[in-house]
């Protein structure tokens, strides 16, 4: 597959998510690049194989384009009137880091189920609780064994 198309495809997907908060479908990618649906599917599979995104291959839908989630989660990130979903507690901070924007993060403590709000303003954390912790259950060497669990 053409290397230029691969990375243009990755960039299109990320830009689409930034604009719309959701990943583009294969049909939307095909229309954007003027290629067939089959060719766009191959592009998505290539990006999946390169770990540039994580596909639900049964539906050919983007499940993760880190830090963005393709499905609703308990990690909501509000930026400029849009609401993005993050894959995990790390990625909820990754979204404002990627978009270089202020954010209000609306999340839930995994064990107590209490709501937690975190604000990012001018590149700094605001109004957060110093006791909050993010737990990394697996060492780096095992992160890709089961991405959804990680």
């Amino acid at each position: 597959m053409d290397e230029g198309l691969v990375w243009q495809g990755r960039h299109f997907i990320y830009s689409h998510i930034a604009d719309t908060t959701r990943p583009p479908s294969v049909d939307e990618a095909a229309a954007h690049f003027g290629i067939s649906t089959e060719e766009a599917s191959e592009l998505y599979k290539e990006l999946h194989n390169r770990h540039a995104l994580f596909l639900n291959t049964d539906e050919m839908a983007i499940r993760m384009a880190n830090p963005f989630s393709g499905i609703p989660t308990n990690f909501k990130v509000h930026i400029n009137g849009k609401t993005y979903f993050a894959n995990c507690a790390w990625d909820m901070l990754g979204i404002p880091a990627a978009l270089h924007c202020d954010a209000i993060i609306d999340a839930i403590c995994t064990e107590s189920n209490e709501s937690v709000e975190i604000q990012i303003q001018d590149g700094n954390l605001r109004f957060t609780n110093d006791d909050l912790r993010i737990h990394f259950p697996l060492p780096f060497t095992q992160w890709y064994d089961d991405l959804v669990f990680t």
Partner: protein, 77 residues
Amino acid sequence: MLLFRSEEWVDKWCKRNNLERGEMLSIQQVWELSKLWYGNRMSLEYHGRSMEQVADIFKQAGLTAKFWHGQSKQENR
């Protein structure tokens, strides 16, 4: 990676799920890591990163424990 109100809640979760505790970071630590890890993610020029680059990011973020070291599959988070 999951969010907890405090270390106490992490321990409760680990005990309930019969899992060993991994690494716990503060929100400030993960924010600093996020800026290094995701700061160029929207760029057309971002094509993933090498293990050496991953190790350098962890080092810059002050994550020096063995937990953060080692060879993983191709990095592209």
